[in-house]
């Protein structure tokens, strides 16, 4: 009887028993990223274990390493909120001196990366450490109880961006750290999502195999903070891609003229010129993604805010060199 080869290694570095919420998309991310990383290490160094993890303070740190337990089967260190990139740089330097072959994987949430850890991230990228930094982006400070970060999307409710008479919810556009990382002209930068695991694994492996630093901004559902159904985390993340809310792209060596855009699926029509994606006509309205989440509930009563969000998404795609059309939900 033919045994089908599993699509990804059966090795596990993120063990069950961690304390993440039911339906946590970040936990799925941790598991997939470490598996992919291990495959890359096996292919690059002939050693699937040739990596260590430096973790910023945040949800995934708190739920995975409560003394005397650990969910980590790889060497793992947590130091503080804003310095995972600097700690990873220190380990990279120590490994060089000790002659340990391998790569350092750093994890930070959106708060730990886009906000308080941005400086350390920039330093690590600029100094070209042998570190892959994965930002798990659940779009708010979830560990402290759902406060807005600079990575919170326009219109979202959080405990510090409540909608009200004078508020639409979060009133600033989402900050795309991947673009900032790419401006360092590092070998590899990408966005990814737990909503497209195959693309995620491919990108993590690519990032892990480059010489020097790489950065991945990974979209992860947070049912607790997004007020979304716990059984639909992957489906929801996939909808973010299919509706145009979450772009999947790669930027190599800071070459903004040749951004690689991955097809969003969901029936979207992708127009290419000279192999380059120049326009996407999305078929699924953003409302399909938004309506599954309590954090956007108020937008359905605020058409002007809904329109502003749609405009901001279009503007974001323009930065990527892509003209998009976003359908409106039928009334």
């Amino acid at each position: 009887m033919a045994v089908r080869k599993p699509p990804i290694t059966t090795r596990e570095y993120w063990a069950p028993g961690h304390a993440a919420c039911a339906g946590c998309g970040c936990a799925t991310g941790m598991r997939l990223v470490t598996k992919a990383f291990s495959e890359a290490m096996e292919e690059k160094y002939g050693d699937p274990d040739a990596f260590a993890i430096a973790h910023a303070t945040g949800c995934m740190e708190v739920v995975s390493a409560v003394f005397p337990y650990t969910a980590w089967k790889a060497p793992w260190i947590h130091v503080a909120f804003e310095n995972a990139a600097a700690v990873a740089a220190g380990i990279d330097a120590a490994w060089k001196k000790k002659g340990i072959k391998g790569k350092i994987l750093a994890f930070g949430g959106d708060g730990g990366t886009a906000d308080i850890g941005l400086q350390a991230l920039s330093g690590m990228l600029e100094r070209r450490h042998n570190v892959v930094y994965v930002m798990y982006d659940n779009e708010a400070y979830m560990n402290t109880g759902i406060q807005r970060s600079s990575s919170t999307p326009y219109g979202a409710w959080t405990t510090t961006s409540p909608p009200g008479k004078y508020s639409v919810g979060e009133d600033k556009p989402k900050k795309w750290v991947a673009l900032i990382a790419a401006a360092h002209q590092v070998p590899y930068v990408a966005t990814a999502s737990i909503g497209n695991p195959f693309d995620l694994v491919k990108k993590v492996k690519k990032a892990a195999k480059v010489d020097g630093p790489a950065f991945i901004q990974m979209h992860c559902t947070c049912p607790t903070g997004w007020k979304s159904p716990i059984e639909k985390s992957v489906e929801l993340a996939k909808l973010a891609i299919e509706t145009g809310v979450w772009p999947l792209f790669e930027i190599e060596n800071g070459d903004f003229n040749h951004i690689k855009i991955q097809s969003p699926g969901g029936g979207a029509k992708v127009k290419r010129e000279g192999g380059k994606v120049v326009a996407i006509e999305f078929k699924k309205p953003i409302e399909e993604y938004l309506k599954m989440q309590g954090r956007f509930k108020h937008l359905f009563k605020r058409p002007e805010a809904m329109e502003e969000l749609r405009n901001q998404i279009k503007e974001m795609w323009k930065v990527l060199g892509v003209e998009v059309t976003l359908p409106k939900a039928e009334e």
Binding site: F67, P68, I77, H78, A86, V87, A93, A94, Q119, A120
Partner: protein
């Protein structure tokens, strides 16, 4: 053969780092310490020091990178001062809590505002509760020696605590003095290789470092830091003894000078100790029974030695370049703690002086001594006295 030469304390610190052979150095420039990473850059560039030098984007990242490297099991070094040390503050607690024997050289400098680049001890004194060992150098030779000793103590398995070595901004950092550079082989024998059993990042022996501790475990970690600080007292004495045997220079946690038969002892730290010893010589010529003592080790606080010192005098005058507002200087607080339950104890009089690089002159010391003499005569004096203030601009 040791080399006798002349250099600034910053260079002495860089030489100490070179002799200790750290594998990873991460540093960020700050006055008055900048020459330390500059000199180390030269050593690395010339191949005289085989280390990774991470030119970080902040002191916060400097100490964070040292934590990462130290947790990966290698000897690390950095240098900073003042605002830089303050920016490290958060991570200093973490380095101690994770029991990582990082050594940091500090050019002791005041804290803003107003911004001021000159000497006092407020930067390191403000970090006294982090769990770090603290040594203070009187001169450039001590800066070099104490950094080597700091590694020896910090890496001892009974201790495993990070250490900072302070030397006064400009007075030492930028002043050329005779320094003997010890023989590399002797330093190698003195320090040995750093091979930690508790901190490593090995793909084939994965461990988790830096966990979350609930109330069920946190307090014990603090108690173990307390115990390690206590254990460090004996380990420091042993390291001082071994250092003296190998290199011929004697160190003591509390170094006394002409304290026999003294009525008044002037206690201080850092380069001010040199001034005070000269002053004591002059006062003795006038028949004043005064001695001096220098705190080479401030953390762990040498309680026993302070109690012994206190038996020798009727008044102890604390001359300190730091201030805890509404309380007094740090030495005054710590001496009070050491002596509060002693049956017989001297009077303590605190003197705040030399802040932000204000010169401490013999006239200033005359003023302090006259207040101490009043206390000796049983007259009432202020517990905390500010010396050398420009009253005309207040």
């Amino acid at each position: 053969m040791p080399i006798r030469t002349v250099m600034k304390a910053n260079e002495a610190a860089a030489w100490a780092a070179k002799l200790a052979k750290p594998k990873v150095i991460a540093a960020f420039p700050i006055t008055p310490s900048t020459l330390v990473p500059e000199k180390i850059s030269e050593f690395v560039a010339n191949g005289e020091l085989d280390a990774e030098f991470i030119k970080v984007e902040s002191e916060h990242s400097a100490i964070s990178a040292c934590v990462g490297a130290s947790a990966a099991g290698v000897r690390t070094f950095t240098a900073t001062a003042s605002q830089g040390l303050a920016l490290m503050h958060e991570v200093l607690f973490i380095a101690a809590g994770m029991r990582l024997p990082i050594v940091v050289a500090i050019g002791n400098r005041s804290l803003s505002a107003p911004i001021n680049i000159w000497n006092d001890w407020q930067d390191t004194i403000s970090e006294r509760d982090t769990g770090w060992l603290q040594f203070y150098a009187e001169n450039n030779q001590e800066a070099l020696d104490l950094i080597l000793i700091a590694y020896k103590v910090a890496e001892n398995e009974k201790v495993l605590l990070p250490a900072m070595v302070g030397f006064d901004a400009f007075i030492l950092t930028h002043t050329v003095e005779p320094v003997e550079i010890p023989d590399q082989e002797l330093v190698d024998e003195f320090l040995g290789e750093y091979e930690p059993k508790h901190a490593f990042i090995d793909p084939h022996n994965p461990i988790t470092q830096g966990t979350l501790a609930f109330p069920a475990h946190y307090m014990e970690t603090r108690y173990l830091l307390w115990k390690a600080n206590e254990a460090a007292k004996k380990v420091i004495d042993e390291a001082f003894a071994e250092f003296e045997k190998r290199f011929g220079r004697k160190y003591q946690k509390v170094e006394e000078y002409r304290t026999d038969d003294a009525d008044i002892i002037l206690v201080t730290m850092g380069s001010l100790a040199g001034t005070v010893k000269d002053y004591v010589d002059r006062a003795r010529e006038k028949g004043i029974k005064v001695g001096a003592a220098k705190m080479t080790v401030y953390r762990p606080f040498p309680v026993e030695e302070v109690r012994e010192l206190a038996k020798k005098a009727k008044v102890i005058a604390l001359l300190e370049k730091n201030i805890t507002f509404s309380v007094g200087g740090a030495l005054f607080q710590d001496f009070s703690r050491a002596l509060v339950n002693e049956d017989e104890k001297p009077k303590l009089v605190d003197f705040i002086l030399g802040l932000g690089g204000r010169d401490v002159t013999f006239q200033n010391l005359d003023e302090a001594l006259s207040i101490a003499e009043k206390a000796l005569r049983g007259e009432k004096v202020d517990e905390v006295n500010w010396i050398g203030l420009r009253k005309e601009i207040l």
